[in-house]
Amino acid sequence: MESQPRIGVYVCHCGTNIAAMVDVEQVAEFAATLPHVVVARDYLYMCSDPGQTLIKQDIQEQQLTRVVVAACSPSMHEPTFRGATREGGINPYFMQMINIREQCSWVHTDREKATQKAKALVASAVAKAALLEPLEDREVGVTPGAVVIGGGVAGMIAALDVADAGFPVYLVEKSDHLGGHVADLNRVFPTLESAKELIEPLIKRVQTHPHVTVLLNSQVTGLEGYVGNFELQVTNSKSEGPNPKLSVGSIIIATGYDIFDPRRKPELGYGQYPNVITSLEMEHRLATGDLTVDGRSPQNVAFIQCVGSRDAQVGNLYCSRVCCMYTAKQSRLVRELLPQARVTVFFIDVRVFGKGGEEFYDETRAKRVRYRRGSVSEIYQRDGRVVLVGEDTLLSRPIEFEADLVVLAVGMEPRADTATLSTLFKLPRSADGFFMESHPKLRPVDTVVDGVFLAGCCQGPKDIPDTVAQAKAAASSALIPLILGTVPVESATAVVDADLCAGCGMCVDVCPFGAPALDPLWGVSRVNAVLCKGCGACAAACPSKAIQMQRFTPEQIMAQVDALME
């Protein structure tokens, strides 16, 4: 039996993320007054090396036996602080995290109340920490292999990297062909390379790779299991036969994007005037070299940027990141195809930040593509020509601009089936509707679901180089469990106090995993820890609390509740 616990409390500023709305110093001062707390500190970034060192040093110098970290969500940094606790020399499960960022500073505006709440949460964490028990890490084997959903550039690159590492990959593609949107493009910026030449060798490599199984016309319709051992139900829209079930260790989502439908900006007349086309339609025209309108070569070609992007009216607040560059590309190609035509780009801002972007933009203007600042407000028809109505904001003058071909630089949107996949995979989406990464800076390809990674435009608009970079990042993250061969699993399991157990078997009845079973000899429950997933349904069913969930024991939970009542 250990003596009284010695608790250290660490309150994180998270830069200003927490400190701006929560008086962290005051929280730390308060924490120092709580029972068993021997040291309480606040620090700029607890997760940083110096922050972790604080914890490690205190464990050693102050003989701490418990650590409480008040910072961000445990889904962010629980492993970090468990690591620090372990390195400090005590069991990593003696660390209790409490979330005062997502639950406090980011959602409240009253500093005093937010601080009050943070204090209560810290008190409850301290109360629980005093009752923590040590646990051992546990792990299970991994099914070697990955599923990649989406056969565009992102999906193919990711699939190839995983396959090249020697693991089987199932590439699940909804349509009847690989290549995604890039397959519909003509040339790509800034190299003006043919998209065909880019994509076709890639498709070929995927199709012939011995470790890649391509499933066309297929969709994932069911998902079970967890990181290391997923089982996916795949439905093939073209075949009647039994649907394959895929068993893999990790999953990469690369489902891409939809193109904005400019009919949602009715003032631009798309769908009404045949000479108002989308940039994608322009790609097809450029591919065939036929730019004629009603059999005539257009003399005045106008491009309108930001259609469906940066636009609260259609709910898309984000910049689609590629339109400026492809507009520069298309406008230049038009100039080359129609040397006599006047080509004008209406823009709000020009964003050509990628490698070679600015240089490409310079060359485009040098080729006499005219950039006019001011977005077009509406388009109507006059004498068979379309009239762009807007303001040249540099001239500060409303203008009517007659054109015989107008290209709407449409942006990207989350795919229509994002909601379905989001539900299936339990993946949150960010405010823009795209899938949300775990952390915008530090975990850009991870999701909140362990073992599920994001690649390409399903996470947000990006160009081909960024897509490929993210796909390769997703592949290497997805490979980690496959290469390790094991993944850690929930260390906390249900445990039975045989002296208390009356053998009623309710825990057995409520467990979906068959973890507890009645011992035939003694008539008491025993837990098979390998099968236990740590949900705690058994503990809730047990009236005498003979079976309990580690880390969520009734003593711990009631101590937390009690501390919150103060």
Partner: protein, 384 residues
């Protein structure tokens, strides 16, 4: 088959004892679990293997000191076990069904002998009766024929009995249920002239072993039904009035008002046939609080009732067992503060049981409501 255990000289009890003895003597069972009169005259269940001792058996004694389902568990739950016949009242049989679901008792190799219940007295009342006026057994048994179930003058039946609307048994083999509590063998007192014979229903095979081969009509099923309905009607009236009154009290005073005088002796839990935990949660380390904790609570509310968590105990016990509560009322009998524990549990119980359409003690095949679920039920809950 249905037959009648013949009664000689109007001594019904001797006929019942004879029937039980034959069970042992014919080797049908190894022991009989039955209420016995101790040499001092008290009545208590015993497991009897020597048929001679059954001369002290008295399953018709109008007293209930405990719910015998509690003692069936330990003698039946594990292999190896012998064959047992257990003589039980309807509320005991129902509790037994719940305990079987909770794996606290087993019906394997068990001959349940259900006896219609004419109402029982609490032990202290019964003791006073015995000492002062004597127990008028003849009048008590005669009430079975008329259905005019009344306590002896100057005494009252147990509170739970007064409002018991499930006083009768139905044989598993008979096919005619009458909604009674099921048993393998049933001694059907209602509607019968017990001074002449005791109607019994039992499996043919068993009847043969016992030499009860003479099928006898006994009272007509219609007559029995009529009497049972009469008893139920009277009891239901009492029950509903008490439910209504208790509902009112709970609404006005809250459970904390009704149980205000609780002394936390845990007797209600100890005598409850359904409270099966080895150690009650409230006696376990989970509720071992630190002195500082008590001090905090005292500071928080200004004053803090001790022992701590008294209402939490009652509400948690409601949570744990109210869906299985068979209304035997032993809790009320055992309460030193004379709180209407049973009435509270029955009043709340029938409302909660109705939510899940669950009848405790009905059928061992029906799962306990809280360990099962249907995906498509209560779809609106949680979505608001």
């Amino acid at each position: 088959m249905k037959t009648v255990i013949p009664v000689e000289n109007g001594d019904t009890l001797v006929a019942v004892r004879g029937f039980l003895k034959r069970l042992l003597e014919a080797g049908v069972v190894d022991a009989v679990l039955v209420p016995m009169e101790t040499p001092a005259g008290a009545v208590t269940p015993a497991l009897v293997s020597d048929s001679r001792l059954l001369d002290a058996a008295n399953p018709l004694a109008p007293v209930m000191g405990l719910n015998a389902a509690r003692v069936v568990g330990p003698v039946s739950i594990r292999e190896p076990r012998g064959k047992i016949a257990a003589v039980l009242r309807p509320c005991e049989l129902r509790a037994l069904v719940e305990l079987v679901k909770l794996k606290q008792a087993s019906l394997d190799d068990m001959v349940t002998i259900g006896v219609d219940c004419l109402g029982t007295y609490d032990v202290p009342v019964y003791e006073v009766m015995r000492a002062d006026d004597g127990v008028d057994v003849a009048a008590y048994l005669a009430s079975a024929q008329s259905g005019e179930l009344a306590p002896q003058d100057g005494y009252a039946f147990r509170d739970a009995c007064q409002m018991c609307e499930k006083p009768h048994v139905s044989a598993l083999s008979s096919g005619e249920r009458l909604g009674g509590v099921e048993a393998v063998v049933t001694l059907e007192l209602f509607g019968a002239d017990l001074s002449a014979g005791i109607p019994v229903t039992l499996p043919d095979e068993l009847a043969e072993k016992l030499g009860l081969t003479d099928p006898s009509p006994g009272p007509s099923p219609a007559r029995r039904r009529e009497i049972i309905e009469k008893v139920i009607a009277a009891r239901t009236q009492v029950r509903d009035a008490r439910f209504a009154e208790m509902d009112r009290r709970l609404e006005q005073e809250g459970i904390e008002g009704v149980f205000a005088a609780c002394v936390r002796c845990h007797n209600c839990m100890t005598v409850c046939p359904i409270c099966y935990c080895k150690t009650c949660l409230f006696k376990s380390p989970t509720f071992d609080h630190e002195p500082l904790q008590y001090m905090n609570w005292a500071h928080r509310k200004g004053a803090y009732r001790l022992p701590a968590d008294t209402m939490l105990f009652h509400l948690t016990r409601l949570n744990h067992i109210v869906l299985s509560c068979v209304g035997c009322g032993m809790c009320t009998s055992a309460c030193p503060a004379e709180l209407p524990v049973g009435r509270v549990f029955r009043t709340i119980g029938q409302q909660v049981q109705a939510v899940f359409d669950y009848v405790p003690g009905g059928n061992v095949e029906e799962p306990l409501p809280l360990i099962t679920f249907r995906e498509d039920e209560w779809m609106e809950v949680g979505e608001e």
